[in-house]
Symmetry: C2
Subunit: 691 residues, 2 copies
């Protein structure tokens, strides 16, 4: 049965790629006539490409070093094990990094193609503009999911060994960690600096072309929100499938059916996303938020029906597993809805924070931090319940099935990831389009249309972030199971007693828990400080330009800002800051492993997951909350633009920017990377730890 599903996987991937190519050509044939837009759009494209090229050059070096280390050490030291396994692992690792990089690169290509066309289409109304923005994003969604399914199926088909998949997944994750961190630092450096110098100091509009940081800001949307987010979800999707497959292969009984089931769910999720994407439309004067959300729900429903059908028809597929995956998906939707409650400006929380801003920025920050903390509770409870239910549902199927159930809950939650990436990538495209409409002088009416499209992107982002954090949570829980089975294989080989679990009363486990819990906090802090330092550099450069370029402030025709300098500062700063934080997490994992061995690592992973989820939810939601509170005040409430409340709300938004777009979403990846490092290194820890 397995080979059938390999074939079907490749076929579905081919369909997804073909559909993506069709959408790409459709976007490309949309007309552009506005000279200024084409010019600026080209600047954005060049800026993004330059950054990506320089970033990939740095990451290529890192990947090569890592590949050599893997070749020597993993899955077991080359002088002890089967050298061919080490070669496979290193090649799989490189394949993971390369596929991730390709997905990011093509995402940038189509996003920078769509932004100008969306802006021009906005002159004709919401309907045509929405379609270009959404389809541009969909190309990215289809490619990412296609690449991940292709990669996982190919690696397993060629090697037949799911532990090699861990190498592939680690390749995807390590690239995602740096791409997300680098892109996140770039985009927030530019965003924060542009806002502070433009909006706050000079009182000019967000995308005013006089601001030297305005192009860097638009480039940032692409490299952070398109490429970074794509790498992140590529990684999550690969990790979820990998952990499910590692556990499926280790199960007693008909392992073949379980492996087939993982692929079957992935295939059906991709098909459901294709249908959801193909049918997404917005009415003539309709609501783009509703269009995006309803296509998500349509995809969810189609997926549930298709998988129920498959479970009914195919022998060996279990309803219990279907139940686990359904619980995962539904909890994902619920997390999305509660996130929405805390970040939507039609709901009370955003309004309370906007109201608190009237008493000064300290109250904006305090209330945002507080509601951000509270917002983590429902998601944590949701993840806790889905893990408990999935476990209890699948436990009666036999040894190991309980953890397999949790991993299938994660696969379920991520099944509609194609749709989610499409929605997510739509955001930066329409954000760019709004800027281009302003810089191209397309008039008030068009800017308003673009604004509406942009605001839908922001709202939907909250929902998709909830999904990706929840999925990361479930994935790493199942990776904990994968780690235990890897560690036990190594312990058995070394003739040591096996691990039956990680007891929190054991001092080494506890030691690991405390240190693991501190890591996401330190990791976030390093990224935020990176943005902080970098933005201070860029603000200084903008001040310099306003002082030394005559006529720039006044907006004289021939006074051109030096956009390139700002792009350069954001790029070099991001490249300098992205490595230390990522490397720190990997190094600490190794230290804990070499001190405390597998049991300390078990605790370390738990502490890391728990505090990582808490901080990721807190930061993403608080950031979204502040952003929308500011927009709410700007819409004329609590005194409107220029009021004291507005100034306070802008400060809240600036604090929230690196929370929600740099640190928060990078924590996901950080957790996954740490889990994969632990699984990959388990045999080494068994051989060389102190305790």
């Amino acid at each position: 049965m397995e080979s059938l599903f390999y074939g079907l996987s490749f076929l579905t991937v081919a369909i997804a790629f073909a559909f993506a190519a069709y959408l790409y050509l459709w976007v490309k044939k949309q007309r552009t006539v506005n000279k200024r837009i084409m010019e600026v759009s080209l600047l954005i494209k060049e800026g993004a490409n330059t950054f990506m090229r320089r970033e990939y050059r740095v990451l290529a070096k890192f990947a090569l070093v890592a590949a050599v280390l893997i070749l020597v050490l993993l899955p077991s030291p080359i002088w002890q094990g089967e050298p061919l396994d080490n070669v496979s692992m290193a090649v799989a690792y490189l394949a993971g990094t390369i596929l991730s990089a390709i997905a990011g690169k093509i995402g940038i290509l189509v996003a920078t193609l769509s932004n100008g066309r969306t802006a021009e289409a906005a002159q004709k109304g919401i309907k045509p503009a929405f379609l270009i923005g959404f389809r541009g994003g969909a190309v990215m969604g289809l490619l990412v999911v296609g690449c991940s399914l292709f990669g996982v199926a190919a690696v397993l088909w060629i090697t037949g060994d799911s532990s090699i998949l861990l190498g592939f997944s680690f390749g995807a994750s390590s690239l995602a960690l740096f791409a997300k961190a680098g892109g996140g630092i770039f985009t927030k450096t530019a965003d924060v600096s542009a806002d502070l110098t433009g909006k706050v100091e000079l009182g000019i509009a967000e995308d005013d072309p006089r601001n030297p940081a305005v192009i860097a800001d638009n480039v940032g949307d692409n490299v952070g929100d398109v490429a970074g987010m794509g790498a992140d979800l590529f990684d999550s999707n690969v990790a979820a499938m990998t952990s499910a497959l590692v556990i499926a292969q280790s199960l007693a009984g008909d392992g073949t059916a379980n492996v087939a089931m993982v692929f079957c769910y992935a295939i059906l999720g991709l098909l459901a996303s294709i249908i959801g994407i193909a049918t997404a439309r917005v009415g003539k004067n309709g609501n783009p938020t509703r269009a995006l959300n309803s296509s998500t729900y349509v995809t969810t429903a189609i997926f549930l029906v298709l998988t129920a059908g498959a479970t009914a028809l195919i022998e060996g597929f279990s309803w219990r597993i279907w139940g686990a995956s359904t619980v995962g998906l539904l909890v994902g939707v619920i997390i999305g809805i509660t996130t929405d409650y805390f970040t939507d400006d039609t709901k009370p929380i955003v309004r309370k924070v906007a109201h608190a801003s009237g008493s000064g920025p300290a109250f904006t920050v305090l209330s945002g931090v507080s509601y951000g903390f509270i917002s983590a509770l429902p998601a944590m409870v949701g993840i806790a319940i889905s893990a408990l239910v999935a476990y209890k549902l699948c436990e009666p199927m036999g040894d190991g099935y309980a953890v397999f159930g949790i991993s299938m809950a994660a696969v379920g939650m991520l099944s509609i990831v194609g749709m989610i990436i499409s929605n997510d990538a739509y955001g930066p495209i329409v954000d760019n389009a709004r800027g281009l409409a302003e810089m191209g002088g397309l008039g008030e009416e068009t800017i308003r249309t673009a604004d509406e499209l942009d605001s839908a992107g922001n709202t939907v982002k909250a929902v998709t972030k909830g999904f990706s954090i929840g999925a990361a949570g479930l994935t790493v829980i199942s990776l904990l199971g994968a780690f235990m089975s890897e560690a036990n294989a190594a312990l058995a080989a070394a003739g040591k007693p096996l691990i039956t679990g990680f007891d929190i009363m054991s001092p080494t486990v506890f030691f690991g828990v405390l240190i693991g819990a501190a890591i996401p906090a330190v990791f976030s802090a390093m990224l935020i400080l990176g943005v902080d330092k970098n933005a201070q550099r860029m603000v200084a450069e903008i001040h310099r330009q306003f002082q030394s370029i005559p006529g720039l402030k006044e907006g004289k025709e021939d006074a051109k800002p030096e956009y390139g300098k700002c792009i350069d500062i954001a790029t070099s700063g991001a490249l300098r800051e992205l490595i230390p934080a990522g490397l720190m997490t990997i190094v600490v994992t190794l230290i804990v492993g070499f001190i405390g061995g597998p049991s300390a690592i078990g605790g370390f992973l738990l502490g890391n997951i728990v505090s990582g989820l808490l901080l990721a939810l807190f930061m993403s939601n608080a950031g979204g909350l502040w952003d929308n509170s500011k927009k709410y005040v700007e819409s004329g409430e609590e005194g409107g633009k220029g009021s004291e409340a507005h100034k306070a709300a802008v400060i809240g938004d600036t604090v929230g920017d690196p929370f929600k777009d740099t640190a928060g979403p990078s924590i996901n990846t950080q957790i996954t990377v740490v889990s994969l490092v632990a699984s990959l290194m388990s045999s080494i820890f068994v051989l060389f730890s102190i305790f």
Copy 2:
């Protein structure tokens, strides 16, 4: 041997009380002549007493309800077990609340006696003023430690049953939870409102008597930092001794020696503190920070020598246990020193945040949050290492000794708590004195002296906070062990299989971990929102007074602000907000226990400890960091008072105020309360849980 140590405990307590009485009388006989100071000092005293009376009235109702529930249900339902045990437990619970309340009450008495006298002595220089402030604080320190040793010894001497001690400890903790939260909300409501309306809006000095909130602010220092902190450390000290005694009684072998050792260490700690207090002096123009710190180090050294002597001389005392307690104490000192690194304005971090303030308040907040996160790492590592070392040191002594070692590390860390409370209570006394010097018109020179004393209080506070958070961490780890032994007793009685540990791969444990981790975040958020709401009410009242009282803003002789109204708002707001947050944590603990039973509670405690430690460290340190950055800017750096950097630094300080004085230090107590509720309810959870 046990009865000998009961006798010695009572004797030492008597010595401590006699010494406290001597210091009290010494402070009382210092002269006061300034009419204005006596008048304001009386206002502060009355405000504090009114608040304490109203707070205790609310808490008395809560305590009575809790006592009735305990009478019916604990240690086992009254219809099942021995009714006399239930009566003992309920009485012990009430004794815990009453002793805690008395300690708080007397602390307020002596603090409000010392503040004016310190202010007047400051006219003669640092030396006499320091001594009054320090000895006033020392009365509180001696009383708190004396009461806790007396209570623990009395309960165990009378009942002989350490599980009744859990009831006593819960009484102390539940009162501390509310006293800390209520006092914390009161003090920060007043502080934040006074700063925002006075410093920021009007640009008048911190303690300008025109500000209607200025007396409330000084009252807050007493009810938050004296009474609240006293209740907190009373609770920590009782909890540490209780968990050590519960485990000591459950140990195989010579249990008597172990129980005796716990009391011996407590006695020697109190004696060492008495010596440290008696010898504390500052040179004529010496440095008060150095005086405070060096008396801490002297106390530490004396304690180590005394306990080493006892271990050498007394049969049955083990060097391994001595080692565990020494490790605890030394790690406490190390945590204090690293905390100091992040919050002292002669070190780089405070200066970096001050420098970031030059780019605007968003950067103040972002850099403070980041360094706050990073500052948690060394303390977490310290706690992890001390737990690991204490465990490994004592493991060879036999079954159960490993966890006993951890509990003795906590006892060691808290051994010098008398000294720590003295230093801590010194802070609000000299803070008040500074205000009184300003309001009493004692001149620039005296205010500068008072300022220097105040700044020493702030710096030392960081060190003592590190101690108390670290000790809470170790205490609750050992309470986890106490919980397991209580749960196993209940399981054995119910004929169910015993727990051998809490495996994080078990879904109920994991379920507990995730929810437990979210609780400190929600708890903090509720307290911060309480301050936020309350401060908004008070700011509105201050604005009303400035508008409706003619001549107040201008400082006319006969224009008196209505101080009482502000005190009233702070009081009633604090009383309204303090119950929900505390009750929430208890209720969630019960829900998790009834759903998942003992194993979910084990996970819940772990999650709660880990995220609680992380957030408590983060909030306390970030708050201290912002406070001192503001002071650094005010000293003339980065533009000095009135600059943009100063405005930004004030906003950072306002954000940090409820972090460091409301939420952060309450989390300690929250963790302890949850652990004690869990231990007390273990038999009920065993009988009535779903899973």
